[in-house]
Amino acid sequence: MTSSDAPSTAPRTWRKPPFIANPLLRYGLIIVAAVYLVWAFGSLPFNWARISEGLPRAARIFSGGFPPNLERYELLLTGFKESFQIAILATLLGVFLSIPFAVMAARNIAPMPIYIIGRAVIIVSRSFHPVIVAILFVAAVGFGPLAGILTLTLYSIGFVGKLLAEEIEEIDWGQVEAMKAAGAGYVAILFYAVFPQILPRQVGLSMYQLDSNLRASAVVGIVGAGGIGGTLMNAFGRYDYDFAFAILLIIIAVILLSEGVSGWVRKKIW
């Protein structure tokens, strides 16, 4: 403060320097945010009459839901069995199919046009929520677990393929060059210099993917792609709330269990 030439008797003030220095930008952003919130709230079609019935309805649903009812446990077991089967088969297919797509989408080993195709497949399959994909597959191949398997296979290809492609892009290039020097062809290089390097990662990823496929298989059923989700949807549709809550609680338990197991296995492997 010695540099300031104001008389030292004048009271000195201090304000916290604002987060955004430019006042125009600062107030502009605040106004934009406020206007957005008002606009968004105002433009959304809320059905207040229907919403106001919500509380009594919630009371009815929850009182109807407790205690959860496990009488029809056979239905529940069948649903879970199917979800589990969907998750396993989709993980297996997805993890295998993700390898070629990952190779296609790795910039260091795929030629340009192939690379673009590989990336596009991965981006597209990652953009869609599995439930949307499921509804299309249901439309194409009919209700049932087949649609679920196809959906989750695509979902796995997107997720595993992306991470695997990144892994391939980071491999130790020396091994590839060594193979090239030995006169190996493209496929031989893939099998001897690339895959061994990404294999450990792939095993961990499969465990992770099995866990997320199990979660997802519980929801694709809601649009008719098989598994416990369908059972849940039916229970809700028939106002069978005590059964629905029983399903919900067991879904939560299974998900927590599978998260724990998958975490434990991945820790063991690495």
Partner: protein, 269 residues
């Protein structure tokens, strides 16, 4: 002597390897058995499977070319989807932060609060958005409110868990210094905790907003608003070219969302 030790080491090594190999084979065998069981037991009509490629390409053919009809409605629905995601993310902040506070080991007022916080986070995270939506549609009827609440209830767990971890990782020395000045709890939070978790907070909220955009595209399939409603409508009426347009619109929306997120990240962090 040396030879003997060498042999011993070899033998131990061998045995260890054999055990590991055994475990490996056992795991492989178990996996194989589970897969065989799954394939044989699953409720699939196999002729349909061989027919599936035909069916899928048939559907693809019916979708092509995408129709520009109803584009205005689609764009309006997209905007509604963004609104749902944004408002829900915004509301979540106010609910998730207190939960994070009580669910963090080092800030929780007492054991009971800690377990309450953890219970809220776990239940929020293990119920999928679309199942939350199902519940809220049953309560509040079809519409955007059910959608917003579904996203909020799912996001509380996500933001709350990550923020709780961020709070647990803070440097506690400034906290101690603030306590030593005689500051009250609220002031200690405002000065020593909030600034430390701010960067994590922005990163987490931006990340969740991106996820919420994706999630809110499906809410409509159970009647909870957004682009999913017209997607369901188009599928129900077999308007496949419109379905294709909606799918393209969703991709565009998700890509825009990703671009906005990475822009925000580079600006704010």
């Amino acid at each position: 002597m040396v030879d003997h030790a060498q042999q011993l080491a070899d033998r131990i090594w061998q045995r260890y390897d054999r055990k590991q190999r055994l475990i490996r084979y056992a795991v492989l065998l178990a996996t194989l058995m589970v897969v065989v069981w799954a394939v044989r037991d699953i409720d699939i009509f196999w002729p349909w499977v061989w027919d599936a490629p035909n069916q899928i390409s048939g559907l693809g053919a019916r979708m092509w070319p995408p129709s520009a009809e109803g584009l205005n409605g689609i764009i309006a629905a997209l905007i509604e989807t963004v609104h749902i995601a944004t408002l829900a993310t915004f509301l979540t902040i106010f609910l998730a932060l207190p939960v994070a506070y009580i669910a963090a080991q080092n800030t929780t007022p007492n054991r009971a609060c800690l377990w309450l916080g953890r219970f809220i986070l776990v239940s929020s995270r293990s119920v999928n958005t679309i199942i939350w939506a199902l519940l809220f549609v049953a309560i509040f009827g079809p519409g955007v409110l059910a959608g917003i609440l579904a996203i909020v209830f799912r996001s509380i767990g996500f933001i709350g868990k990550l923020m709780g971890e961020a709070i647990e990782e803070i440097d506690r020395r400034p906290v101690e210094a603030m306590e030593a000045t005689g500051a009250s709890k609220a002031k200690v939070i405002a000065y020593a905790i909030v600034p430390q978790v701010m960067p994590a907070f922005f990163a987490i909220v931006i990340l969740r907003w991106d996820i919420n955009i994706r999630e809110s595209t499906v809410l409509g399939l159970v009647g909870a608003g957004g682009i999913g409603v017209i997607l369901q409508g188009a599928i129900d009426t077999f308007a496949w070219p419109t379905v294709a347009t909606i799918m393209i619109a969703i991709i565009v929306l998700v890509l825009i969302g990703e671009a906005v997120t990475s822009l925000l990240r580079s600006k704010v962090l």
